[in-house]
């Protein structure tokens, strides 16, 4: 099953490689990983999307917690949470296709952030699944580039990950 694990870690050189190395060394799946500093510059927040049996997910959580640099961790998928991913898609947009692309972007609440005579770049922020749907909704042969950030996640309501 798909899980979104969110963690706070020391914003130190090598911290990211400890997490990435853990996943490769122990053979865990990693669908996406996104990381950036928080409002406290000594801490980074990381969102990892992974999948596995309950036993594997339990081990992933424990192994991540065991890393000395990891200060706090939460498995967001165990409760109410929000998930967002940013995607930039550049499509070939001749006159005929351009309108169709823009209509699709509208439906998915995307916006056009750049246009040239032959291309159109759309920005979309939504769940990973919705971004997948958008990619399926437009003609594959029109896609020139897809750039995705990987998911960021946060708990709903009072569910807070903080030191």
């Amino acid at each position: 099953m798909r899980h979104i694990i969110s963690l706070l870690m020391e914003n130190e050189a090598g911290a990211l490689s400890r997490v990435a190395g853990l996943f490769s060394a122990r053979g865990y799946n990693i669908e996406s990983l996104s990381v950036a500093p928080t409002e406290d510059p000594t801490l980074s927040r990381m969102t990892i999307v992974t999948s596995g049996s309950d036993a594997v997910i339990e081990q992933i959580n424990k192994q991540l917690n065991k890393l000395v640099d990891v200060a706090a961790l939460i498995d967001l998928s165990e409760g109410e949470h929000l998930e967002r991913e940013l995607m930039l898609v550049k499509v070939r947009a001749d006159d005929a296709a351009r309108d169709e692309i823009k209509r699709s972007a509208d439906i998915f609440r995307g916006r056009v952030i750049d246009e040239s005579d032959s291309t159109c770049t759309i920005e979309l922020t939504d769940t990973c699944a919705r971004l997948d749907e958008f990619l399926r909704a437009i003609r594959r042969d029109l896609i020139l580039e897809t750039v995705r950030t990987g998911a960021s996640g946060i708990g709903r309501g009072d569910r807070v990950l903080k030191l």
Binding site: M9, G14, R18, Q59, K62, Q63, V68
Partner: protein, 569 residues
């Protein structure tokens, strides 16, 4: 007064009460060696290979409950140390390894003797640091010692670039250190402990399975009390030997691949299993699916939550320090006024004794013609009165020592269990001997393993370490040969050790005493003579039966009850 980073590093070691640093100098650690030269509190043991420095620090740590310290240079110094670090990591030994690094300005430029030390060691350390500012050295070394020793112990690497070791700053050693992202477990959950106590008292076929965590946590007294209070059978992993005295009537021997029949059968068929500081690894429970075929309740005490429910499902997990948890558990059992079901326990013991009879115990057929390796270990135990510190390398000799040297005390059996590192025994024995100057230290090894760090005979000479090397020389890489005999149609691919050196001559060349023993009748007199030579390192080259195999054996990937017993003896 301002000190250089190198001086600070050495002052930190002094503050930590470090007696010995095992190391090897080189370009990137020149300033640190200079700082060592100018003091005499911390003694440096010059090894002949960096792998040995780490193993020696490891042996020192395992035999004392203190942190072992090694010091190596950048590049090859560090890469040579990696096997030692990984060995310590797998067996949870507290070590601080200080490595030199190229100057900060040269990092990333493929400088001479540059490797990414932090990157290379990352998967085999508890934590590691690259110190980029001289102001951070004291704090970092303090953290390193704290991390190495607290919680589940392990090796910590501190990589210090050469320029940082020469920069100056004021020295102040922090009295204590906290790491906001690190909270090692202490006491266990009282509710869980209460639940465990009830489950143990209600058991009909109980079993205690003790591992290296008992030794690390200094909990052998608690373990013995628990086992005796409850009257339960107890087995031990390779790493846990000595945790419960081998002579205790509740001890049913080591379990696992070369464990006793009764220990493995009881492990498989118990209804309540108490796992204490052990991790259900593949050499212990064999095939996980086979192990799970028999339903049993499992209580698992471990300081590392990731060790719990990693390979087997656990009913009552208790995260905590083994000693503290056992203390609390004993308190609950004493206070409860209940005893286990005597009738059930007595019929369970009867079953265990039946298995003992079927297995026939640990046995081998002795010979008056050719030396049997088991016989040497039995005699070793007898002649040292079971009081020696015994290190080993890896292979058949390691298993025979585990089986036949009846360890009655913790920290006497020093072996590479997790990583299985050949070449561990001799350097580890150096660390043990330095930690216990008057004690008897034996290194049981084979002709294969000993050659993996034989250069340390030179270190032993320099520092007058009277280690007794018991080499069981059968001319083969015996354990591999055994697997080839059992599972690869007797095709002994590259396991015959041709062109062996004359070990007696070799020992003498290094300035030691060498003995060659070829007849069973000479085993005892030779051991007596060797151990009487209190001041000498004696290399005993026992020519043993090359066809001897280690029994019992649970073949790799099989279940505990699918055990092969010795042929009719």
């Amino acid at each position: 007064m301002e000190l250089t980073g190198a001086e600070i590093a050495i002052r930190c070691l002094q503050e930590e009460g470090v007696e010995y640093v095992f190391g090897y100098p080189g370009g990137a650690v020149l300033f640190i060696y200079d700082a060592l030269f100018n003091q005499d509190k911390v003694k440096h043991i010059l090894v002949r290979h960096e792998q040995a420095a780490v193993h020696a620090a490891d042996g020192y740590a395992r035999s004392t409950d203190r942190v072992g310290v090694a010091l190596v240079t950048s590049g090859p110094g560090l890469t040579n140390a990696v096997t030692g670090i990984a060995t310590a990591y797998m067996d949870s030994t507290p070590l601080v390894v200080i490595s030199g690094q190229v100057p900060t300005g040269a990092i990333g430029e493929d400088a001479f003797q540059e490797v990414d030390a932090v990157g290379i060691t990352r998967p085999c350390v508890k934590h590691n640091f690259l110190v980029k500012d001289v102001k951070d050295i004291a704090q970092t070394i303090k953290k390193a010692f704290y991390l190495a020793k607290s919680g589940r112990p392990g090796p910590v690497l501190v990589d210090i670039p050469k320029d940082v070791s020469n920069h100056r700053t004021a020295f102040e050693y922090p009295a204590s250190v906290t790491i906001r992202s690190y909270h090692p477990a202490g006491k266990g959950d009282s509710g869980q402990i209460g639940l465990a106590a009830r489950m143990l008292l209600e058991a009909e076929r109980p079993m205690v399975y003790a591992g290296g965590g008992v030794i690390l946590s200094e909990a052998s007294g608690q373990l013995a009390e628990l086992v005796r209070t409850l009257g339960f059978p107890c087995t031990s992993t390779l790493m846990g030997l000595g945790g419960l005295p081998a002579g205790d009537r509740h001890f049913v021997g080591m379990l696992g691949m070369h464990g006793t029949y009764e220990a493995n059968m009881a492990m498989q068929h118990c209804d309540v299993l108490l796992a204490v500081g052990a991790r259900f690894d593949d050499r212990v429970i064999g095939n996980v699916a086979h192990f799970a075929q028999v339903p049993r309740k499992i209580i698992h005490i471990d300081i590392d939550p990731s060790s719990i429910a990693k390979r087997v499902k656990v009913d009552v997990p208790i995260v905590g320090d083994v000693k503290l948890v056992l203390d609390e558990l004993l308190g609950v059992l004493r206070g409860g006024g209940r005893a286990p079901d005597a009738a059930a326990l007595s019929s369970w013991w009867k079953q265990v004794e039946e298995w003992q009879a079927v297995g026939g115990g640990l046995r081998y057929k002795n010979s008056s013609e050719i030396i049997k390796p088991q016989f040497v270990i039995e005699k070793l135990h007898e002649i040292t009165g079971g009081e020696a510190f015994v290190t080993s390398d890896v292979g058949q000799h390691q298993m025979w020592t585990a089986q036949y040297y009846k360890f009655d005390k913790p920290r006497r059996w020093i072996t590479s269990g997790g990583l299985g590192t050949m070449g561990f025994g001799l350097p580890a024995a150096m660390g043990v001997q330095l930690a216990h100057p008057g004690a008897t230290v034996a290194c049981v090894t084979g002709e294969g393993s000993i050659q993996m760090n034989i250069q340390e005979l030179s270190t032993c000479k320099q520092f007058r370490l009277p280690i007794k090397i018991v080499a069981l020389n059968n001319g083969y890489l015996g354990m591999v040969r055994q697997w080839q005999e059992f599972f690869h149609g007797n095709r002994y691919s590259e396991t015959y050790m041709d062109a062996l050196p004359d070990f007696v001559g070799l020992a003498e060349a290094y300035g030691h005493v060498g003995m060659r023993i070829e007849k069973p009748a000479d085993v005892e007199p030779a051991l007596k003579e060797a151990f009487a030579r209190k001041r000498d390192l004696v290399f005993m080259d026992f020519r043993t039966d090359p066809s001897e195999n280690v029994y019992p054996m649970v073949p790799g990937g099989r279940g505990l009850s699918e055990i092969i017993l010795a042929e009719d003896l």
